[in-house]
């Protein structure tokens, strides 16, 4: 079983946290911090396994992580998971993200954490590995995105247009224009 999946950057800022067991928000943050401390002080070229986060799990649990550029991907798993298997899974996860976001970088994760969650949901469900085949994962993710787009339809068009404008790196949207008044009554 996977107990938690965490992604944070080199400074310990969480980019995604998925706990398959309930903790309250404070404990979650503490776990993220603790994990970050454990993981971040390790050199490159050391093994990717860590025992004993005290907060999460216990003796039976391991932290298995990978470090990509600015991000750490950390899986907390128990002994029923194969260590090397989980390492592969992280790789699959990252490659999938790369395909879905086209050259994924930290910013993608920052702004689209919901999408990352949706992708993850196709790989791991309730702490158990659901799918390891990248093509299958991408097929399902794409199909769902397509549905989302078709639902947005015409009603979604203005919102999309606006968000496109927002996403242009204009200094700051002129928010004071009162569009509300000119709307058709």
């Amino acid at each position: 079983m996977i107990k938690a999946i965490l992604i944070f950057n080199n400074h310990g800022k969480p980019r995604l946290s998925k706990f398959y067991e309930h903790y309250n928000e404070d404990t979650e943050q503490q776990i993220i911090r603790e994990t970050f401390h454990l993981v971040s002080k390790r050199d490159e070229n050391v093994c990717n396994f860590l025992e004993g986060g005290l907060l999460i799990g216990g003796l039976d649990y391991k932290l298995i992580y990978r470090h990509y550029a600015t991000l750490y991907f950390v899986f907390c798993v128990d002994s029923s998971e194969s260590e090397l298997g989980i390492l592969d899974l992280i790789q699959v996860f990252v490659e999938t993200l790369d395909k879905c976001f086209e050259n994924v970088c930290e910013l993608d994760l920052i702004f689209h954490v919901d999408k990352v969650h949706h992708i993850l949901a196709e790989m791991v469900m309730g702490g158990m590995v659901l799918e390891t085949n990248m093509n299958e994962i991408i097929t399902q993710v794409d199909a769902q995105n397509k549905m989302e787009k078709s639902e947005a339809g015409i009603a979604g068009a203005p919102a999309r247009a606006v968000s496109a404008v927002k996403n242009m790196n204009l200094p700051e949207m002129p928010k004071n224009i009162n569009i509300g008044d000119i709307s058709i009554k």
């Binding site: 070229n45 050391v46 390492l87 469900m125 659901l130 639902e151 009603a155 606006v162 709307s183 009554k185």
Partner: protein, 1240 residues
Amino acid sequence: MALKIVKGSIDRMFDKNLQDLVRGIRNHKEDEAKYISTCIDEIKQELKQDNIAVKANAVCKLTYLQMLGYDVSWAAFNIVEVMSSSKFTYKRIGYLAASQCFHESTDVIMLTTNQIRKDLSSPNQYDTGVALTGLSCFVTPDLARDLANDIMTLMSHTKPYIRKKAVLIMYKVFLKYPESLRPAFPRLKEKLEDPDPGVQSAAVNVICELARRNPKNYLSLAPLFFKLMTSSTNNWVLIKIIKLFGALTPLEPRLGKKLIEPLTNLIHSTSAMSLLYECVNTVIAVLISLSSGMPNHSASIQLCVQKLRILIEDSDQNLKYLGLLAMSKILKTHPKSVQSHKDLILQCLDDKDESIRLRALDLLYGMVSKKNLMEIVKKLMLHVDKAEGTTYRDELLTKIIDICSQSNYQYITNFEWYISILVELTRLEGTRHGHLIASQMLDVAIRVKAIRAFAVAQMATLLDNAHLLTGNTQRNGICEVLYAAAWICGEFSEHLENPMQTLEAMLRPKVATLPGHIQAVYVQNAAKLFATVLKGEEGNTDGTAAQEASQLMIDRLPLFVQSANLEVQERASCILQLVKYIQKLQQKDVEVAEEVDALFAGELNPVAPKAQKKVPVPEGLDLDAWINEPPSESESEDEQPKAIFAKEEPKHSRPRHTEVDEKELARRREARKQEQANNPFYIKASPSSQKVYQEAPGVEHIPVVQIDLNVPLKVPGLPMSDQYVKMEEERRQKERAEKKKKEKKKRKEKRSGRGKKHDSAPESEEDITPAHMVDIVTEEMPENALPSDDDERDPTDPHKALDIDLDRPLADSEKLPVRSHRAAEAQKSPTDGETENATLQEPKKKNSKEKREKKRDKERDRKKSKEEKKKKKHKHEDKEEDLLGGQADEPVLQSEETSQVAEPPTSSSTTAEEAATVAAAAPEPSVTAPDSEPDEPKDTEMEETKSSKHKKKKQKKEKEEKEKKKKKKHHHHHHHSDGAGEESVQNGTVEEEEPLPPMSNYCLLAENSYIKMMMEDAEEVYDIQGNLQDGSQVVVSVIFENKCSSFLKSMEFNVLDSLNSKLQRPEGSGPHDGLVVPFQLPPGVSNEARFVFTVQSIVMPQKLKGTLTFIVKNEDDSTHEKLDFKLHFTCTSYLITTPCYSDAFAKLLESGDLKSSSLRLEGVNMPFHHLLARICFHHHFSVVERIDSCASMYSRSIQGHHVCLLVKTSAQTVSIDAKCDEPTLLGNVLDEIKQTFSQC
């Protein structure tokens, strides 16, 4: 309306979306908290809007904030709203938010049951997928119970995407609702051979998780897994299976023998390291399980060790790590094979990677022998010196102590060496483990009698040099060692060469800077030393030495009398007075030594760690009973110190223990004084607290390491009695002699300058004799110690509940809670409903009842008698099923469907009967048949005779029959229900109709040999955005399951519209056109379709007649079939679970717009909360408030009628007072509630 939508979406454009929020947070780095709090305010506003898109956006942002650590549980209800949106986009947002922040104590979860069920049965696979994913994160026992059956149905869904998710989530369901395991297991097992690799992998995954916790229940699956292992090429699946075998093999050595060969082949053939590693691991497990019996597997061990060596030597640190990990497993049973790689492991100690060093340390633990212990420890000591981080150094320290003390100091041949190692470890600065060293010193000194003299000498030196240790007392844990040193010197002071000097060392003013608990030990042991000094001087006529000692005590003790620490103070003042008295006696030349010595007479023996627990409780003594009623107030005061106490107490550190005791004592005293003033009962109530404390002063807390009682230290070559005879002097002489002999050859530790020696490496373990005569005093146990001390499994372990025998045939009482009460009701046809009901629920009891029924039937008519025969047959089938219960080749549905399979015959027989009585002329279903009575197509009736003949044949030759049937028209065909291949079904009709009770429960409508139709649900689509006036929609989900071996296609669903309710048809189609069911059904497959109805008035229940037509396609021919059914919409189905706050509820009641009505139910003997749960569940109410046996409940209809209930219960009577703005609706709802309870 359209304008509204447009306007809504334009407004919405300028709400912040998730990206804006993230961007905003990044732009407000300096005042992030403030910015977020304004965002949360905005979100709160957005959540108040009616527009679901706005809400979804808000919830999406909340999910992000939750990740940043903000509590968003206040929005739980809004999350539920978003979850129930009909749009996938929003639904997904809602479920994501729920999966991130819902948990078992989230109360709105109970509102989601119906929503989730609806989504699970959605025609859109992604709705279902999203619901399953979400549910996997927040499933509660209630949800698990209510949804288990729905999920189980999904396990046979046509889409592998749904199947794999459904299979996986079953594990969570099992954990929360263990009763579901047995009914679901056969289907789960079937999924192991699913054609889709993803589903297969999911099933393997679930079974592995289950088997890991309770392996013995899954041994019977071993052959199946074995097959999978040899056939599968999916490494993920292989890894899981191989891991599973690792868990199974200790239980069944024969399995292990079979495994060795294929595993060895895999090891040789695979290129995947992960697989190779797991194979090696499992081979190791096999070898461990075989180790007792079969020595022939040395080749396998060699193979494993070789492979592991390759891993360890690999440059990939991960492989190195895993290699060491696996190596440590081999070590347990085959230490010799590992020990030959000692070089490699010691080399790993130098690795730059801490994880690897720690793993290597672990291995060392198992690799030591008498021969190499000293060598290894020496190496470790070098590492201790080199180690940079204190963490790793502390780890080394504990490891050294672990290694040396393991198995009752089994490998230590020379305790002098060990003591000097311990002393050396005290030189470590800043270690946290002072108490660990201290407890080792105490333990060794107490338990190894022969070493006491040496230990005392060492400790005396330590005390003398205490200033070296106490340099920086504050952050230095090492001064704990002084506690041990002082105690050892005091307790065994007879071994001291110069007690006077030590006494002086212990009374230095600097001691007063030590922690209180250590000072206390100093003071107490100074007294012991004092007694020894007196005793030593007894013979001397001179007496000056003794008087000097007294004077020293009198001079120095006042310092401690002034101590702020109560314990120190108390002991010091007692002893000071005592010494003063002694001094007086001394001056009168009275011999006091003996009496003073008597103060400390008697030997303290170690006590076994479990000794206290094992004292048998005398008969008639109830330890839990109060002696006096407890004083109410004192409780809370005592509690706090206890909590602190528990937190502070480290495992081995008795010293701390004492310290806290002191604190506690102080507190208690104070508390007691206050209590005494106020509460005359206080003293009586807790008389023991102080006394107990006094009886156990720190000195007597003798630390005892946990030692296995049954393994006393074996000292080869030395009979136990010898050790007792040895006198200290002899030992010293012997030591000296040995030293001289061996000094040059084997001097190990130069720094200590003391007797560190080791034995000249003997040839074999057995030859090694200890350098010293040692004895380990076994620990004392109370008389009559209770023998059993098995560690019981943690009772809170959720897996304990899953320890279920899966091979036992499934009893019907175990079937999952199907939404069956409607179906059961359906059975209650006027004639033989009762009997059939019984048939459904307890097939075993059927015999007698059916006989009765037979008789009844005979009296009726010919046709019926034929049907009886069918029933007989049916009976047989049931029996068969029971016998076949747990067999592996049984098809999936076995468990849950036992009952369902049993059902169709009976219901069809009723149908036939009805058809006969009501007359074929009346094509419409008879009114007498309540809700779910299946209407039999006329065809059936006509074919009846034929089919019953067929049935007779079937009894004899079922299989032949099948084929015959195929040739014949399918009307007659009795499809062997796919549930159990043996089953023959009597009715020729292809379909059974389902009355569709619009209850929230699944309702098994009926089932026949060709098709099983279940009405899954009837729900209201209540568009949150939509207007109530727009009219209301009811969605009915129907599951069609093909039960025959033919292909069913071109299904068309049609309903005769009434004025009030209409089936929604696609635009352009006429009012009488049927709806095409959007799928075909291959044999054994089920799928679900949803139909939308518009309803005008909802105050009355409705019935709609309908027909399902379809084509049954065989290889050679195909036929048209049709099935009539009746849909039943209850008033309940128009209600929506809506939460209501109690103040709003009160206002509503006060408003006076509501008409009231009431209902009494007699003889309801279920717990009140069950009753409420039932009303909530079946009738879509929510509890507003509950006080004892009285609760107010609320619900709202899709057209906005408020329905309020006040439910009271006393004895077995339940009275329900209800109010609603629509009296007709209310009346009907109450009737339905009544009906619900009349069924249970």
